[in-house]
Symmetry: C2
Subunit: 188 residues, 2 copies
């Protein structure tokens, strides 16, 4: 995954790009909470996903980090892909597109599509997908969302594993974390 | 304010420093909301203050940006200065200290101290203080917080002006924005 650890951007470009993406996502997710009992602000999730990519995955590619920060804005808020392109360019948009479910489809079909499309995503898309699942699996281990049975949480683990199996081969750090989660980390 | 526009940090240092501060602040402010009717997540505020500094104030100094992201963690959450130092170093902590009220003091005394101490703060502390006030004044213009009278909001404008008058001379961009807010932007 050489392209995701290159450092071609200047420090000012990086500062600008991250601050702008953070502010954009925070405003867009303002009214949204995570599904946990504590009602954690939704923006904590994309911030956490970007942190997993950088600090645990070693991903230093600005486009990937911005896409991680923005990854749920189109799926979960009124944001359009055109808005992402206008603010962050087409490279970031391409990654966000790769990790955005089509909410017009039934939930089961969206889940099936995540599994079958994963192997065809770009390295950037695969990296964001893996970090997203790591965050969500850790969240599930901490507390099962309101309204979820233990079985539903277990099924999320099994399904996530099918998705991330399709993302293998581009980041061994993230793969190792996922393998540990799947082998040791199931909810009991 | 030459020191606040230097770009001595590498892009990886900047990416690391901003992502870590964002995640730290988001976790610390998880259970806190802004005082607006919408109940905006508190983390939107420090993210917004950092954005004002960079995009409107032209401040590119990583220590200042990190201090902005962290500026309310000690005042409003269980965070200690030692924790800030352990995670972000003494330079960031020094700025956070400068913009942290002593909550053991009565509110009126804290407000008086902000006015009298402002001129003695570092350039970094002054910049964060101005951006913080810009964010809060714009918030007040959008909607008066729950439980606040119009008079209380007006008094906030007058008090903020006394504080930021003590911060003049280090960033003409931020000063101009504040001058416009004070002359045109009062709540009517
Ligand atoms: Mn997500
Ligand atoms: Mn503040």
């Amino acid at each position: 995954m050489a392209s995701l650890v290159n450092c071609v951007d200047s420090s000012v470009t990086v500062m600008s790009g991250i601050l702008k993406a953070m502010n954009f996502a925070a405003l867009k997710h303002s009214f949204q909470k995570r599904k946990d009992a504590a009602g954690t602000p939704y923006i904590n999730h994309p911030i956490g996903v970007a942190n997993i990519l950088f600090f645990e995955g070693g991903v230093k590619d600005l486009v990937t980090i911005q896409a991680a920060i923005l990854h749920d804005t189109v799926e979960d808020t009124d944001t359009s892909f055109d808005e992402i392109t206008a603010n962050f360019g087409s490279e970031v948009t391409d990654v966000v597109k790769e990790v955005t479910d089509d909410k017009s489809l039934p939930s089961a079909e969206r889940k099936r599509l995540q599994v079958v499309t994963a192997p065809h995503k770009s390295d950037r898309g695969k990296a964001v997908k893996m970090a997203d699942k790591i965050y969500n699996l850790r969240d599930l281990q901490k507390s099962v969302p309101i309204g979820w049975s233990i079985e539903r949480a277990q099924q999320y683990f099994s399904w996530a594993q099918k998705v991330t199996n399709g993302c293998r081969g581009i980041n061994s750090n993230l793969e190792q974390i996922l393998d540990n989660l799947y082998s040791n980390g199931k909810i009991i």
